[in-house]
C-alpha cells in the first residue's frame, strides 16, 4: 500500500514555523500579560501610597482627638482646635484651667504625611461635634478623601460642688466654688441676681453674685464662684439658673442646707 509521506508527520520546516508561531504567541501573551500586570501594579502601588497616607492621617487625627473628648469647651480657628480642660484640684473644690490645641496639619507634617490637606469645621447641627476632612490628590488627578468626626463628651455646666461647706443658720454670705465656671446667670446675662431662701414657713430674699472673675479670652469673662447672701437663716436655698462655658444651662433648683 502506498503511503503519502507528506501526511505522516511535519517536515523540519513545518516544525520550525510552528515553533516560531508558538513563540510569537507566547511572547505576545507574555508581554501583554506583563504590561497588564504592570499597569495594575502601578495603580495599586500608587493607591497604596495614598491610601496608606490617608490611613495614617486618619489614625493620627483619631489619636489626637481622644484628649478633645474630655474638653469642657473649644473653638476652631484656621483649622486649629483650641480647647480647655478643667481639672479638679485634689483636696479642694476648685479646679484649674488647662488650655491645649490640636494643629492637625502640623501633626501630619511631623508624622511625614505632608501631602494631606486638612479642613476642620464645627458641625452645624451639633455644637459638640468637630468634623475633620482629609483629602489628597495623586499624580493622575485621582482624589482620596476621608472624614473623622470628633465629639466633645463633657458637659461644662456650672453646678454645685460635692460639699457646700456653708452654714445658713444665721444670715450669711457664702462663696461656693462651681464645678465648671459660669459665664452669667440665665436668662439674664447679668452677674448679680436675686432669689429666695426658705426657713420655717417663710420665704425671704437672697442675693446671688458670680465671683472669681478671670478672662477666658478677649471677649469673655468666666466666674469660678457663686456667692449667696442671705438676710435671714435658711433651711432651703434656691440655686438660680446659670449659663456655662459651652452654653449648657443649669436649671433652677432648691437645696436643703440644714
Amino acid at each position: 500500500m502506498k503511503v503519502h509521506k507528506r501526511i505522516q508527520g511535519m517536515t523540519l520546516l513545518e516544525v520550525v514555523i510552528a515553533m516560531l508561531l508558538l513563540s510569537i504567541l507566547m511572547m505576545s501573551v507574555a508581554f501583554s500579560g506583563t504590561s497588564v500586570l504592570l499597569a495594575v501594579k502601578n495603580r495599586v502601588d500608587a493607591s497604596s501610597t495614598y491610601v496608606l497616607a490617608m490611613n495614617k492621617a486618619q489614625a493620627l487625627v483619631i489619636s489626637k482627638g481622644e484628649s478633645f473628648a474630655n474638653s469642657a469647651t473649644f473653638n476652631v480657628t484656621n483649622n486649629v482646635i483650641s480647647y480647655h480642660n478643667f481639672e479638679a484640684v485634689t483636696g479642694t473644690n476648685g479646679f484649674t484651667l488647662k488650655t491645649a490645641s490640636i494643629d492637625f496639619k502640623k501633626e501630619l507634617n511631623d508624622a511625614g504625611v505632608s501631602n494631606v490637606a486638612v479642613a476642620v469645621t464645627t458641625s452645624t447641627t451639633d455644637p459638640n461635634i468637630v468634623v475633620v476632612n482629609l483629602s489628597t490628590v495623586d499624580k493622575t488627578g485621582r482624589r482620596y478623601e476621608n472624614t473623622v468626626i470628633l465629639r466633645k463628651l463633657i458637659n461644662a455646666a456650672p453646678l454645685l460642688p460635692k460639699k457646700l461647706r456653708c452654714s445658713f443658720e444665721t444670715p450669711t454670705t457664702c462663696s461656693v466654688p462651681l464645678l465648671f465656671p459660669a459665664v452669667s446667670f440665665f436668662p439674664t446675662t447679668a452677674t448679680t441676681t436675686t432669689g429666695s431662701v426658705f426657713s420655717g414657713s417663710t420665704f425671704s430674699t437672697a442675693t446671688y453674685s458670680l465671683k472669681g472673675a478671670s478672662d477666658y479670652d478677649e471677649s469673655l469673662t468666666i466666674y469660678k464662684y457663686l456667692e449667696i447672701e442671705t438676710s435671714t437663716s435658711a433651711t432651703l436655698v434656691q440655686i438660680p439658673k446659670m449659663k456655662g462655658l459651652d452654653s449648657t444651662v443649669s436649671n433652677e433648683l432648691w437645696v436643703k442646707v440644714e
Binding site: L38, G65, V255
Partner: protein, 165 residues
C-alpha cells in the same frame, strides 16, 4: 524534536515572571490591610467611648439605689459590633433637696473588650452629676433628671480596681 518540554519551560518561565510581579502587589495589599486594621481599631475604641458615656448616663439616670458609695456592678453587659461594654457605677456623694436629692455625684467605670483578642481591654472612667430639677409646666411642678458628664479618661483595666473584669 520534543516541543512539549519547550512549551512547559516557557509556561513555567511565564509563571515565574508573574510570581515576581505579584510579590510587590501582595506586599502592598498586606500593608493596606494592616493599616486599615489599625484605623478600624481606633474608630472602634472611639465609638465604644461614646457608647460607654451614653451607657453610664442611662444607668445613672435610671438608678433607684440609695447613694451609699458602693459600686453597683451587677449591670448588664452591652454588645457592640466591635466588642462589649460592661458598666459599673458608684454614687459617691449627694446634696439633698426638700424631698429626695437635688444633686448626686457619680463615678462610672465601663470596660470595653474588643472582639479582636489581640487588642487589650480599655476602661473608660469618669464622673458625672445627676441633677434633679423641678421646673413648672403651667402650674404643675414636674421633675426632670439630667446627667452631666464632668470628667472622662481612658485607663488600663489593671490600673483601676473598680473597672469590671
Amino acid at each position: 524534536m520534543n516541543t512539549k518540554g519547550l512549551a512547559l519551560v516557557t509556561v513555567m518561565g511565564f509563571i515565574l515572571v508573574l510570581s515576581l510581579l505579584m510579590v510587590p502587589l501582595a506586599l502592598g495589599i498586606t500593608q493596606l490591610t494592616s493599616s486599615t486594621n489599625v484605623v478600624s481599631s481606633k474608630i472602634g475604641i472611639g465609638e465604644a467611648r461614646n457608647g460607654a458615656v451614653e451607657l453610664a448616663r442611662y444607668h445613672i439616670a435610671t438608678s433607684s439605689a440609695a447613694c451609699q458609695g458602693e459600686p453597683i456592678s451587677n449591670l448588664p453587659e452591652e454588645q457592640l459590633a466591635q466588642g462589649s461594654l460592661t458598666p459599673a457605677i458608684s454614687c459617691t456623694s449627694s446634696i439633698p433637696a426638700f424631698n429626695g436629692d437635688a444633686y448626686r455625684y457619680w463615678d462610672f467605670y465601663v470596660t470595653y473588650k474588643s472582639k479582636n483578642a489581640a487588642e487589650n481591654s480599655v476602661c473608660f472612667t469618669g464622673s458625672a452629676v445627676e441633677y434633679f430639677s423641678q421646673p413648672k409646666v403651667g402650674d404643675i411642678p414636674t421633675s426632670t433628671v439630667a446627667v452631666y458628664i464632668t470628667h472622662l479618661e481612658d485607663k488600663h483595666v489593671e490600673d483601676e480596681p473598680n473597672c469590671p473584669r
